[in-house]
Amino acid sequence: VAPSLFRYALMLLANHHEAEDAVQQVFIALAARGTSGIGALDRYLRTSVRNECYSVLGRRRDALARANGLPLLETLSAAHDRTHDRLVLEQGLRALPPEQREAIHLKVFEGYSFQEAADLTGESINTIASRYRYGMEKLRAAFGAEKP
């Protein structure tokens, strides 16, 4: 679960160090308070990480994700060299607002339905769907622009 939470934080913050800190802050807080009274721990952790990430985003001066030279994505299959695709997609993801990156992450990488993503984030299903659609349009445009 910890890697999954880190990935969620990474996609929200697009910054490894901040994502690492956010996840560790949540775990430290959990260790301090204990798990009593927590119904669904997975959901609790995800919501906590989300809140922590948005706190970090709120403290940022610049809206754009601050790249730190580390990759956002990894290739799942080693059968093909997808380095160029990965770099283009990472650039596109970094340029998106965090809310749109989050919607894409939950839908595409976590396999959530729009309803599940809405439940997790506390947003309406229409909001999640819109963020996803706008984000995907921008990402696809960025990806298409790089086509030879």
């Binding site: 679960v1 910890a2 890697p3 999954s4 880190f6 990935r7 969620y8 990474l10 996609m11 490894h16 160090h17 690492e20 996840v23 560790q24 775990f27 430290i28 959990l30 260790a31 798990t35 669904a40 721990l41 997975d42 959901r43 952790l45 580390l70 990759p71 956002l72 994505l73 990894e74 290739t75 799942l76 299959s77 080693a78 059968a79 093909h80 997808r82 160029h84 695709d85 990965r86 997609l89 894409i104 992450h105 839908k107 595409v108 990488f109 976590e110 396999g111 959530y112 339905s113 599940e116 659609r133 995907m136 990402l139 696809r140 990806f143 298409g144 790089e146 086509k147 030879p148």
Partner: protein, 288 residues
């Protein structure tokens, strides 16, 4: 690059990737082993972080596996290299519980999960370009240090040192010497460097004549170790490689790499998420 004419196609493109896992900076053991030079508060902070991670991972696994399984989102192919849907995850849990196990007799060294991977260091096929077991073990070294151990067993596709192979596969003429070189390097604490060199050069090595490939491997081993291992060293290690290969034959290895997780065999073509999940399940089992 491929065409992207619909959301569905583009989602499929995205699903060839996933966000990277935790970076090495989340790994605490290196800092803990430097206790004499570290401040007490620093060590306490690292211990707290490590403990919190371990607690959260353990309880999180329970929460995760008990998560209700809604229908998979439309468009997700069951066997695509993508993050598993909750439904796929539940199906995998049931399948993994029924997986037959073999006794590989590997020392656990305190680890709760032992990953055993049968390898040919000159393997060039797509699936060989990244060791699933090594990658998974690396990730768990971050979140659960010491809980997962990774061991390689030699299974060269070369008839000279593998009695299960009737004929050496083209491109694998140097595989026996490569395996022996890694073993010799291991004895000198340089296994990682030797294996990395083989990985980087395997395509060139495979394209060369067998004698040239073997000579290149031996030359690199000599350079790396600062001394040339003798022919007797190689002969001794190749005998050990043959014993490894015999073990593979005994349990029916048919290709490399083949990964076992606590004695249960994984299938070729599994996504990294499957292997992650299998390791999580093994970690969640009651201790032996």
């Amino acid at each position: 690059m491929m065409d992207h004419e619909s959301d569905h196609d583009f989602e499929a493109t995205l699903r060839a990737f996933r966000p990277v896992g935790p970076p090495a900076t989340m790994q605490a053991p290196a800092e803990l082993t430097r206790t004499p030079g570290a401040s007490r508060s620093r060590v306490r902070r690292v211990l707290l972080r490590t403990g919190a991670l371990a607690v959260a991972v353990s309880v999180g696994i329970i929460a995760w596996t008990s998560r209700p399984a809604p229908d998979p989102p439309a468009g997700l192919q069951p066997h695509s290299a993508s993050i598993l849907t909750p439904g796929e995850r539940q199906a995998f849990l049931r399948q993994w519980e029924q997986q037959p196990r073999v006794a590989l007799d590997m020392p656990h060294e305190g680890a709760k999960v032992v990953l055993v991977e049968f390898v040919d260091w000159l393997c060039r096929a797509g699936a060989c370009t990244a060791s699933a077991g090594r990658a998974v073990a690396g990730r768990y070294a971050i979140v659960a240090p010491g809980a997962v151990r990774y061991v390689t067993i030699d299974y060269p596709i070369n008839a000279d040192c593998n009695p299960a192979v009737p004929k050496t596969f083209p491109g694998h003429e140097g595989s026996c010497v490569a395996a022996a070189a890694v073993r010799i390097a291991r004895a000198h604490g340089r296994e990682r460097e030797m294996a990395a060199w083989l990985t980087r050069h395997r395509t060139k090595l495979a394209a060369r004549a067998g004698s040239d490939a073997r000579a290149s491997i031996k030359a690199e081993a000599s350079r790396l170790l600062g001394t040339a291992p003798s022919d007797a060293d190689y002969a001794r290690e190749i005998e050990a490689v043959r014993r490894d290969a015999e073990m593979g034959r005994a349990i029916g290895i048919t290709g490399v790499p083949t990964l076992y997780i606590n004695g249960a065999r994984t299938a070729a073509g599994w996504a990294a998420e499957h292997i992650d999940l299998a390791v999580e399940l093994e970690l969640a089992r009651p201790s032996r």
